[in-house]
């Protein structure tokens, strides 16, 4: 390769939003990048060894040729040495010594695979109740959740819990794979009964996109290819569904939410007066000339320009990382939020939220924590503990504390206002973490239900 031309800041001509690669198209390798402009889909899975989750993931990876020869050889070798008696595909994802020794998954494992249409990231988590915090972690960024049901056993407590967590974390799409259909003679009635029971449950959970697929992960039925054993099923295979599901409409393009992350002020001779506000677009379409508010100050101004390393662009939208310049010279710093003028978020000090507790030391009334919301940090005191949710029954149980892996409704009072939306409206501006100030550990994950300024 010849020396790469250096692209100095801002000498590039205005970059049209339709061009992916600003480089010259004449050299062969630009086409490599273009041909691969597929979308990214983030998937969360949860489950235990018995329900066939590892087999399913193993099959997706294997059939899409993402398991490498040396990894497979390693699994074969280790399975034999341990006397597992079968090809233990869990060894692919269980990477830590303790996990391999104990035969359990103790953490979130990330797996990557791609097809010509899409690239997939799987956050794979253990399914037992004592790992709720891992499930919540894996679910927090997911576009889609895969829940497995063993066709022989029907809907279990674990199935209901997984669906409840997917709903609470607002994963937009839920796929229920009714697995081990081979063991119930590919019986349509078994599948229908499970669909019906879970559909009723989902109605209580406020899940708006649920898809049921009868599969056999072991034999590959309806995983990559449509099964010949279930002609009564008219839907897509799992992989087809993952490849074709529309996710771009999940984003909020109506509101503008731009948490300021970093102020770019070079102070150098050539950029003496440059002042830009860098961040990642959390919602909305931002264009030069767009009228905006800067919160919490409330100054009204307009977007002067949107800068990137390649030059100015015409529009910024989720989840682009860009630098905004404003028309007016106002004081803006990290933690501020640039928003649209209609229906801006409420700067609030009193928050009502669903909190998943992640520490062995319980959350108690009156306790103080550090809180991080978008790019803003503050302190928070627990004002009220309304109830905890039994994730197996959805019952509200009165409580005076939240212990590890419990989820409950909590009122917090903050040392300074944060600009929040309800979590169901925006997962970025509606979420926060709580940090124990003594240990610096992340102890809670919160999803905003309501905020008020007083």
């Amino acid at each position: 390769m010849t020396e790469s031309p250096r692209r100095p800041w801002k000498t590039a001509s205005a970059r049209a939003t339709s061009s992916l690669s600003p480089g010259p198209a004449s050299n062969g390798h630009a086409s490599v990048a273009r041909s691969k402009s597929s979308e990214l889909l983030r998937i969360a899975t949860a489950g235990s060894v018995d329900d066939g989750k590892s087999t399913l993931i193993g099959r997706l990876l294997y059939d899409s040729k993402q398991i490498f020869a040396d990894q497979l050889e390693h699994v074969v070798e280790t399975s034999e040495r341990r006397g597992d008696g079968y090809l233990n595909l869990a060894l692919l994802t269980d990477g830590l010594r303790a996990e391999r020794e104990q035969g359990i998954t103790i953490d979130v494992a990330y797996r990557y695979f791609s097809t010509p249409r899409r690239k997939f990231i799987i956050a794979d988590t253990p399914g037992h109740e004592q790992y709720t915090r891992n499930m919540v972690t894996g679910a927090s960024t997911a576009d889609l959740s895969i829940v497995l049901v063993d066709a022989r056993n029907g809907v279990s407590e674990q199935t209901r819990r997984h669906a409840a967590i997917a709903s609470l974390l607002r994963i937009p799409h839920l796929v229920v794979c009714v697995n081990k259909m081979d063991l119930v003679d590919y019986d349509e009635a078994v599948f229908d009964a499970i669909c019906e029971e879970l559909t009723d449950w989902a109605a209580r959970l406020d899940i708006w996109d649920i898809t049921f697929i009868p599969i056999s992960a072991l034999h590959g039925d309806n995983v990559v290819d449509r099964s010949q054993n279930m002609n009564w099923y008219g839907g897509p295979s799992l992989l087809y569904h993952l490849e074709h599901l529309v996710i771009s409409t999940d984003r909020n393009l109506a509101d503008i939410r731009f948490p300021v992350q970093w102020v770019v002020r070079p102070m150098a001779e050539e950029h003496h007066d440059y002042r830009g506000y860098a961040g990642q677009v959390a919602a909305g379409v931002i264009q030069p000339g767009t009228e905006v508010l800067v919160l919490p100050g409330g100054h009204r101004t307009k977007i002067a320009a949107i800068d990137t390393f390649e030059g100015e662009i015409d529009a910024a939208f989720p989840t682009m990382s860009v630098t905004l310049r404003l028309e007016d010279d106002i004081d803006v710093s990290r933690g501020d939020m640039i928003v649209n003028t209609d229906d801006p978020p409420v700067p609030g000090r009193d928050l009502e939220a669903m909190v998943c507790w992640m520490s062995s030391s319980p959350m108690k009334l009156g306790a103080k924590y550090a809180i991080k919301h978008t790019t803003r940090s503050a302190r928070a005191v627990v004002d009220q503990l309304e109830y905890r949710v039994d994730v197996n029954t959805l019952e509200h149980v009165p409580t005076d504390q939240l212990t590890l892996n419990e989820i409950g409704r909590v009122h917090l009072r903050l040392s300074q206002p944060v600009m929040v939306d309800r979590y169901r409206r925006n997962r970025t501006t509606g979420s926060f973490i709580l940090i124990d100030e003594a240990t610096n550990d992340t102890v809670g994950a919160g999803m905003l239900v309501h905020a008020s300024s007083q």
Binding site: D70, A98, W262
Partner: protein
Amino acid sequence: MNPMHYELSHLETLEAESIHIFREVAAELERPVLLFSGGKDSIVLLRLAEKAFRPGKFPFPIMHVDTGHNFPEVIEFRDRLVEQIGERLIVASVQDSIDAGRVIEEFPPPHARTSRNRLQTVTLLDAIADNGFDAAFGGARRDEERARAKERVFSFRDDFGQWDPKAQRPELWSLYNGRIRRGEHVRVFPISNWTELDVWQYIAQEELEIPNIYYAHDREVFARDGMLYARSEFVSLLDGEVPFQESVRYRTVGDITCTGAVRSQAQTLEEVVTEIAATRITERGETRADDRVTEAAMEDRKREGYF
């Protein structure tokens, strides 16, 4: 990017996430440093840092932990690249650690079994402590290795530089917790979610220059433990090992004594990407002797404070 639907490609999505991570660290930690090896992943890191901070300067220096057993092409490339982007380079030398008695070399070069790979950890941790760094960016990816698949983007290290995989902080949404006490630090991996193929596609898209040893070239090599190693002044041959000429390229760039070459005719980026897309063996499995020691070799090194 599709102007009608406001959609991002997977590379654009990954890039935006990485830039966000760079800026979070710069904003929340006092003295970050970017670890640079001269390999493809750290070259991508530098480009992402440019995207995060230009037209400003990087709010951190670049540091190379130098084993002294380098591919000369890589050092030449490193110096030219750093000069080109106009940022500050610190070189932390394993040889200095040896000379100062901080580490002892089991098999000093040119012994056949010489390796400074593990010694790097001491040099790295000393350099972090001496400079008071509280965050170190690295180019590790989760698809590389089993232990790395479990690691956080912000990976907490105690005041001994140790990683405790069972006591990792939960990491939710894009909210990173960079709170530490004095003496502790975080390792930050902005390209955690990238795969090897993503890195190559990005290098092609961005037209990044990479050291020429990534392309097929004729080299004098010898075979050992099923891998091809470069003949160099640092390693002697064992009985029965006969050097020969071969057309090879490197999939990873590390210490010359433990980085294996692969047979290849791929002389352009396009040809390399085609080869990578078709390969059936992971990059570390194919080219890193250091990961073959035990089943959990990487986890063990990482616990001690390795990259």
